[in-house]
């Protein structure tokens, strides 16, 4: 069965500092990987998907199949980036398997 691990419950950085939210997964095939974000009092929303290789709100994530990782990065954190971030995996376009989430706090 697939599994997603986010080792940090909380990541606190200062505004302007680089950010890296870690995500490791276990699955032997070729899954789809996603990052979801939940801002305070808002619903869970899709931030990034590995297949698109896009940059959203300055965030990027590269799928490393050798290390089975999909870390989320941003070179310069902003206060509005403070939120809960979830890494998720999907196989066969069905259920999403989520990690336990990392809370990002960007301090002024």
């Amino acid at each position: 069965a697939q599994r997603v691990t986010q080792p940090e419950k909380l990541l606190s950085v200062f505004k302007g500092a680089p950010v890296e939210l870690k995500c490791n997964y276990s699955y032997s095939g070729s899954p789809e990987l996603f990052w979801y974000v939940q801002y305070s009092r808002q619903r869970l929303q899709l931030l990034l998907r590995h297949i698109s290789r896009e940059s959203i709100k300055g965030f990027t994530a590269d799928l490393n199949k050798g290390e089975t990782s999909f870390h989320l990065k941003k070179p310069f954190a902003q206060e509005e980036d403070s939120a809960m971030y979830y890494c998720a995996l999907s196989v066969g376009r069905r259920a999403l398997t989520f990690g336990s989430g990392t809370r990002l706090q960007v301090q002024p």
Partner: protein
């Protein structure tokens, strides 16, 4: 388009009772998935409905059941409620034939079992 909507927003039930939660998918979507999110945890997959049938199921007991209607809306039913069923229940919708599994989430229903 209001996106995915869920009702009710909050619900308080007593142990042993039954509960029904409702979800309307985003316009144009035909697939509905349900997730349970306990405090401090990521969402856990319960089941997914497509063409009015349960297409996939997570590791949840038979007390959890669902239904999808011809208009693609869905219900989640939980029987014989336990204290441990207290959680945020999320509904997500998607399009089965889309090129990528992009799921849109509703705001959730907060269920408290006392």
């Amino acid at each position: 388009d209001a996106g995915v909507t869920q009702s009710p927003t909050h619900l308080i039930k007593t142990r042993g009772q039954q509960v029904t939660l409702r979800c309307s998918p985003k316009s144009g979507h035909d697939t509905v998935s349900w997730y349970q999110q306990a405090l401090g945890q990521g969402p856990q997959f319960i089941f997914q409905y497509y063409e009015e049938e349960e297409r996939q199921r997570g590791n949840f007991p038979d007390r959890f059941s669902g239904h999808q209607f011809p208009n693609y809306s869905s219900e989640l039913n939980v029987n014989a409620l336990l204290l441990g069923d207290s959680a945020l229940y999320l509904c997500a919708s998607s399009l089965a034939l889309a090129g990528v599994n992009e799921q849109y989430f509703g705001p959730g229903t907060r269920l408290t079992v006392t």
